[in-house]
């Protein structure tokens, strides 16, 4: 099975080349078909590999393939090598599966766009890079994928680059990510100097017995986590993700919800051995995660742009995943990653369907009453909202609850994390149902001139499939307390490090306590749903009243805590001033001066040397003779 692993990333690469180089000869529909077939190929191979993996006994579940030496420099040997273990399997299935649905959806959504071939080639390139990232067996190849998805993200956010704001949003995403990537690179260098290899498995084997201080692993993991905060939009580097909504909506669904932004979580899970050796980093990861989750949720409550709400919701859900890996529940983090890919992909595509139906309108203040016009979108999005809120029986419930229970049971000192997590769950239920109610219920506030229409079936079928996944995707990980056996956890366990559980109460496994906590969180979620219903359906005027009464808090949240402005004043403006100074003085005077002067002096020198080339053969012969003289002198003196 290992020897066909290369096909998984190869198909999208071929799709990228086909659309990128031969796109002009493809019709719009062929272009979309080529891209979708490429991802379908990846999905089929991945599924086959997953089945082969499941057929093996637990401890042998690993396929590897090394294609060729990529960077052989001295002792450093970096291969293009792929690893397919349970963790990679989950990621590959999510990327290719959800990616496939989004590719198909895009055929409908991007219909008629003049840049559609460019769009599909970028989307295929993204899939290729993402698959490289999750299949890589060494950190450098992983980093290649990591940067590659960042590049595609930039290209696709700024897809409509003739709008300057959108082009700028792409640049912002790229630059903010660079800060995190610098951390990643330094972490790799540190690991290489210590272990002499960059293979993930070799490092994981060598790390526990390494003769280094605890500080080393803390430094390495902190730097990696910095990389993860950039890619996965956590505090303090989350600011790019809301702006990234400038891209086409399927891109937001694929890159900025389902796959790329979860790369940070994957990175930590992939290097779980290193992270468990650095408890300080783990604690920081958990704290940053839960703070991000709560903070982003409070912003999402007041946003009016449908995609902005979903963007902040994504940041918040990513915070949950980081909380999970931070408290050592790696499999719970990956579980939530998977279910989140399903329901957030669904919600974004649903929002895309609404935007499509309203001819590009994104403001929820100009929607409302769409229930009759977009029936399929309506019921699928309802499923998504219920899933993300954590209604029992849907996928979000199982994964979110596992995270909350892990946070509670891990350590007595982490109980406040659980509390914040539950509050966030309530807020999530509130703002997601607010989105649903404001879009599909109430009075229609859109203009009569363009009647909304339901999207074509090429768009609604992916919605339906994702809705099914959102409902049933959680059943692979039913916790033991509810009578399941948590197959997902056991499937992933062999490749993840286990973090010793400290809490006494959890060790003795009080099922009653777990059920009680579950009930509390369900109650809070239901409360969130109820209040949203009361405010936005029963008495729409209440929203205005509340906003007036809580004006300072409302304004703070509505303006995203002014973080963009703070960053602008503290970082961007001083930096721009410095850059402008360097440009006007250093660049113009010193750099340009040097270049111009060297050009001029070469000109003068050439005018001198030019006279040698005078066209007289005997002159040339005499110069040959001069050379011969030098050679003879050398022989003579040697």
């Amino acid at each position: 099975m290992g020897e066909i692993l290369y096909l998984i990333p190869l198909f999208p690469l071929l799709g990228f080349l086909a659309n990128g180089l031969l796109g002009r000869w493809l019709s719009e529909r062929q272009s979309g078909m080529v891209a979708s077939m490429a991802v379908l190929g990846s999905f089929m191979i991945s599924a086959q590999a997953l089945l082969a993996l499941l057929a093996l006994p637990e401890e042998q579940r690993l396929f590897t393939q090394s294609l060729f030496a990529w960077i052989p420099v001295g002792a450093l040997q970096i291969d293009i090598g792929y690893t397919f273990d349970p963790l990679s399997a989950v990621m590959t299935m999510v990327v290719s599966g959800v990616g496939l649905l989004i590719h198909i959806y895009s055929i409908g959504y991007m219909h008629g766009d003049p840049g559609i071939r460019r769009y599909f080639s970028f989307l295929n390139l993204f899939t290729f890079m993402m698959l490289t990232l999750v299949l890589a067996d060494n950190l450098v190849l992983l980093f290649l994928g990591w940067e590659g998805v960042g590049l595609c993200s930039y290209l696709l956010i700024g897809f409509w680059f003739d709008d300057e704001a959108k082009a700028r949003a792409g640049m912002k995403a790229f630059i903010v990510n660079r800060i995190g990537d610098a951390g990643f690179i330094v972490a790799m260098v540190l690991l290489y100097t210590q272990f002499g290899t960059l293979s993930i498995t070799e490092i994981a084997q060598a790390a526990p017995g390494a003769q280094v201080g605890r500080g080393f692993f803390t430094a390495v993991t902190m730097l990696m986590f910095l990389g993860a905060t950039g890619k996965s939009a956590q505090i303090p580097l989350y600011v790019w993700l809301p702006d990234a909504m400038a891209g086409p909506t399927p891109v937001s669904a694929l890159i900025h919800a389902a796959t790329m932004v979860t790369a940070g979580v994957y990175l930590i899970a992939r290097n779980s051995v290193l992270f468990t050796l650095a408890p300080a980093t783990m604690m920081l990861v958990a704290i940053i995660g839960i703070l991000t989750a709560f903070y982003a949720a409070t912003i999402a409550v007041t946003q009016n742009d449908i995609k902005k709400v979903l963007a902040y919701s994504t940041i918040s859900q990513l915070g949950y995943m980081f909380t999970a890996v931070g408290v050592g529940a790696f499999s719970a983090g990956i579980f939530h990653l998977m279910t989140h890919a399903f329901f957030k992909g669904l919600l974004f595509l649903g929002a895309g369907s609404v935007i499509h139906g309203l001819k590009g309108e994104q403001d929820m203040g100009k929607m409302g009453g769409l229930k009759e016009y977009l029936p399929t979108t309506y019921w699928t999005m309802t499923v998504g909202v219920l899933a993300i809120s954590g209604i029992p029986g849907l996928s979000g419930f199982f994964s979110k609850d596992e995270i909350l229970w892990s946070a509670f049971s891990q350590h007595e000192g982490f109980r406040w994390i659980w509390l914040l997590g539950v509050l966030t769950a309530g807020l999530t239920a509130f703002y997601m149902s607010r989105l649903l109610f404001r879009t599909f219920y109430g009075e229609a506030t859109w203009k009569e001139t363009h009647k909304p229409h339901e999207s074509p079936s090429v768009m609604t079928i992916p919605l339906v499939l994702l809705a099914f996944l959102s409902i049933f995707g959680g059943y692979v990980g039913i916790p033991e307390v509810l009578g399941g056996i948590n197959r997902f956890h056991h499937f992933l366990q062999p490749v993840l490090a286990s973090y010793p559980i400290v809490s006494e109460s959890a060790q003795h496994g009080s099922h009653l306590l777990e059920l009680l906590l579950m009930a509390v969180s369900i109650l809070i979620v239901l409360a969130g749903l109820y209040y949203a219903y009361r405010i936005y359906v029963r008495r729409p005027s209440l929203a205005e009243d509340l906003a007036q009464r809580l004006k300072p808090a409302y304004k703070l949240s509505f303006n995203k805590y002014y973080i963009d402005e703070v960053y602008d004043h503290l970082i961007v403006q001083p930096f721009t001033a410095l850059a402008s100074f360097s440009w006007k003085w250093f660049d113009v005077q010193v750099v340009d001066g040097t270049v111009n002067e060297s050009g001029r002096s070469i000109g003068r020198l050439s005018a001198l040397i030019r006279r040698i080339q005078n066209g007289f053969i005997q002159h040339y012969a005499s110069i040959i003779l001069l050379g011969v003289i030098f050679i003879l002198l050398y022989l003579l003196l040697d």
Binding site: F616, H619, S622, L625, L626, I629, L632, L633, L635
Partner: protein, 167 residues
């Protein structure tokens, strides 16, 4: 006897060479060069390189020099006229180069031959007959030999192309 003949031929070659270089009339130069090549062939014989000696007469003194003669006559080259006025600056430069070269070159040859004198001479075996040269050509140097024939073909085509009046 052999060595006296050798020195006589050597003087003839040097004299003919100077004649070629210093004479103003190209026709005389050509004739002088033929004479020099003939004498060189004689020296090859004395050095027991019979095959090369014969080739020298056939190819150099024969074919190549006839070609020179044809061209000189075809172009109807007139004897150089002495150049009036100042000697050009370049001439001094050439003279300097030539002088330095001659000095360095001769010193190096002297050094080299002094080293040769101290090293023992090899067995003077019968090397010059056609059989031994032919054997080397058709065994060890077969590929260069074939490539040389290709080179001749290329030269043939090139020459025809260059000398044609209109392409």
């Amino acid at each position: 006897m052999t060595s006296i003949l050798f020195y006589i031929f050597a003087v003839f070659v040097l004299g003919a060479g100077l004649f070629v270089v210093l004479n103003r009339n190209p026709i005389y130069s050509v004739v002088g060069l033929v004479f020099a090549f003939m004498n060189l062939a004689a020296m090859y014989f004395l050095l027991e390189a019979y095959f090369i000696g014969i080739l020298q007469v056939l190819i150099y003194a024969g074919a190549i020099m006839v070609l020179f003669l044809f061209v000189v006559m075809l172009l109807n080259v007139q004897p150089d006229k002495p150049r009036p006025g100042l000697v050009h600056l370049d001439r001094w430069w050439y003279a300097l180069m030539a002088l330095v070269f001659v000095g360095v070159f001769l010193v190096l040859v002297g050094e080299g031959t002094r080293m040769l004198l101290t090293s023992p001479a090899g067995e003077a075996i019968q090397t010059g007959n056609v059989a031994s040269v032919g054997e080397a050509l058709f065994t060890q140097y077969l590929l260069p030999f074939e490539i040389a024939s290709l080179l001749l073909t290329v030269a043939l085509v090139g020459t025809v192309f260059l000398a044609k009046r209109k392409v």
